[in-house]
């Protein structure tokens, strides 16, 4: 009986040790890949940063009139944006390599699936980025125009336009990734409708004075002097 217990213990220990022996190299490979990729990513990012700074990249972009990229970049610096992009691309690649080494036996389908999804993911990211840029641009344009038209709810209008575009971009990106399916479409329709309603209310309430002034101008005789007949030029 002692022999049987010993055998069972040896067997269990053996299986655990074999399991650990199988698991450890993968884990070590993952840790190593992440550490190495972080190091390489940081070094490459620093190199890209140095080169772009030497080329005065930010100022050159300004001269070429590429304002949107600078606006979207952290601290308004496209150099920093590119530097971080390079760093994080290498780190993500390191993670993928590590996960492949770690999960060779466990998740053999993960990596091909991720690789297959990359083009769609890239497109979705681009859609979201363009959406963010467009949303910011339109929100500011609406804000300034509404203030110049003396619409009191200018900020609300601007916010509504911003979220309208953001929601549209997010829905497009999720639809492209085939995430959510009908729920996303339904949610988008509800949100979009809600924002349009809010926008209509904001315009209606905010510009009622403008509309009434315009009506008054049309109904009154043309001999009436305008509110402000100054010649500004």
């Amino acid at each position: 009986m002692w022999d049987q217990i010993k055998g069972a213990l040896y067997g269990a220990t053996h299986r655990v040790l074999v399991g650990v022996a199988n698991f450890l190299p993968g884990l070590l490979a993952l840790v190593l890949a992440v550490l190495l990729s972080s190091l390489v990513g940081w070094a490459l990012g620093a190199l890209v940063g140095l080169i772009l700074r030497a080329l005065d990249f930010d100022k050159r972009l300004q001269k070429w009139g590429t304002v949107a990229l600078a606006e979207w970049s952290p601290k308004n610096s496209p150099t920093l944006l590119l530097r971080k992009t390079v760093t994080w691309t290498v780190v993500v690649l390191g993670w993928l390599v590590g996960l492949t080494a770690f999960g060779a036996g466990v998740t053999p389908q993960l990596i091909p699936h991720v690789v297959e999804s990359l083009p769609n993911l890239g497109t979705a990211i681009i859609v979201v980025l363009l959406g963010v840029l467009l949303a910011r641009f339109l929100a500011r344009a609406v804000l300034i125009s509404a203030v110049n038209m003396q619409i009191q709810s200018a900020r609300l209008l601007s916010l509504a336009v911003k979220w309208l575009v953001l929601v549209l971009a997010a829905a497009m990106a999720l639809d492209h990734l085939r995430v959510g399916g009908e729920i996303v479409r339904l949610g988008f329709a509800i949100l979009f409708g809600g924002i349009v309603l809010a926008l209509a209310l904001a315009i209606g309430l905010g510009s009622k004075e403008i509309v009434s002034r315009s009506w008054e101008r049309q109904t009154h005789s043309k001999a009436d002097p305008p509110d402000d007949a100054l010649k500004h030029l």
């Binding site: 125009s145 203030v147 110049n148 900020r155 402000d228 500004h232």
Partner: protein
């Protein structure tokens, strides 16, 4: 020189090959006014130029409202009226703007005719008097000036953009006190016409509102002699109906800031300003001045202060933003924008435009509530004062612009380091 490129319609008698004076009217969809301007110019040339050979030129490449038909009708009355129309070269060339192209054609015509003076008129100017031709051209022919700009009579509070921004800014930048730089009318000497064409001044992008600013800065930066002439009021057909204030302000300020960027080396060396010689006598403006609602303007400024802080923060330093916030607490424009604060705001916007801190159209339009705030303060201060006091106040503001110029130069040279 460019005969082959331009379809020039002439009729008997034989077309002149030289002219002392060329009067050009660039037009684009000015069917309602072009005939009046051309007729008045023709009368003016007849009254003035008994001993001078002259040529009247109409340049139009784009009109679709019958302007060219109007000009052709006039040619029956005056066979010496020359019409410059669309050409293959002009239609296919990358041209900066419609009326700019016409302006270049007129200058080429003046050069070709070896004209001593070239007068450019605004096709929408309905209040023009025949004697304006002589008044504008005489300083070029008799006094050897290279550029003559008009100073139109106007009500004391009219011309806010000119009084509050363009005049003080250009005076501080270029050191010449040209009172109305954006009259839309100017006379040029032959050597200045040559310079404009040789330097291809009109090939660089410029808006229709910016041709005057371009011409004036080119003349001043080239050290040419500039003078100004007092004229009667300028009434423009359709003024104020087609463009809103923010579009006008954006168009004008974009042109002024563009010129500023093109001539940095010149204006950074200029200190102080010198008067520019006047011709004629000031014309009093008749009638009552138009009603002005300063309270509405101030409310626009306050609305801007409440909602545009984030936009302005990209252009204005924190101290200025704080000062604006403080001002916006008042219900009325009693305290008003101080001159030095206003001058620094304009300089900061010039720098923001240069650095393209945001879309330039947005940046220029974001200036509108600030301008209205300044205008409300100005109206509050001098609304009841006589016209001479208003003019004195504008001169005082201009001196503050000059005094604040070191601020502009510092920020221009070290935009990141010098940020009070």
């Amino acid at each position: 020189m460019h005969d082959s490129n331009q379809r020039i319609a002439t009729a008997a008698p034989a077309p002149p090959t030289t002219a002392e004076i060329v009067v050009g009217v660039p037009s684009c969809n000015h069917a309602g006014t072009v005939a009046l301007v051309l007729r008045t110019a023709q009368t003016g040339l007849g009254e003035f130029g008994s001993g001078q050979s002259s040529l009247l030129v109409s340049a139009d490449t784009q009109s679709s409202d019958g302007t060219r038909e109007q000009v052709r009708g006039l040619r029956a009355e005056n066979p010496l009226l020359r019409e410059l129309g669309p050409t293959e070269r002009a239609a296919g060339a990358a041209s900066p703007g419609v009326e700019v192209r016409e302006l270049r054609m007129i200058l080429e015509q003046a050069l070709q005719m070896r004209a001593r003076a070239c007068l450019v008129l605004d096709a929408s100017l309905t209040s023009m008097a025949p004697d304006w031709v002589a008044q504008l051209v005489r300083p070029v022919l008799d006094e050897q000036f290279d550029m003559v700009v008009p100073c139109f009579a106007r009500h004391k509070l009219d011309g806010g953009i000119s009084n509050g921004i363009v005049y003080p800014l250009t005076r501080a930048l270029y050191g010449k006190r040209v009172r109305q730089a954006l009259g839309g009318v100017f006379a040029l000497s032959s050597r200045l016409v040559e310079r404009f064409l040789a330097r291809r001044v009109w090939d660089i992008e410029v808006s229709a509102l910016g041709t005057d600013a371009r011409a004036m800065t080119e003349a001043i930066c080239g050290e040419y002699a500039v003078c100004q002439v007092f004229l009667g009021p300028a009434e423009h057909a359709g003024s104020g109906s087609s463009l809103d204030l923010s579009s006008i302000l954006a168009g004008v300020m974009g042109s002024v800031f563009d010129e500023m960027n093109r001539n940095v080396a010149f204006w950074q060396k200029v200190r102080g300003s010198q008067p520019v010689r006047w011709f004629g006598t000031p014309v009093e403006m008749g009638g009552n001045p138009p009603p002005v609602d300063a309270h509405k303007m101030w409310e626009s400024f306050r609305l801007g202060c409440r909602t545009l802080q984030d936009v302005w923060a990209a252009v204005l330093p924190p101290a200025t933003l704080l000062a604006l916030k403080y001002l916006a607490r008042d219900d009325a424009a009693g305290a008003g924008l101080a001159d030095d604060l206003w001058a620094r705001i304009v300089y900061d916007f010039a720098l923001g435009y240069r650095l393209a801190v945001m879309n330039r159209g947005h940046l220029l339009r974001a200036l509108t509530p600030l301008y209205l705030g300044w205008l409300a303060s100005f109206v509050h201060e001098v609304g009841a004062a006589p016209a001479q006091d208003v003019e004195r106040r504008v001169q005082q503001l201009s001196m503050v612009y000059e005094a604040q110029k070191p601020y502009l130069i510092s920020r221009w040279r070290w935009p990141d380091r010098f940020n009070p």
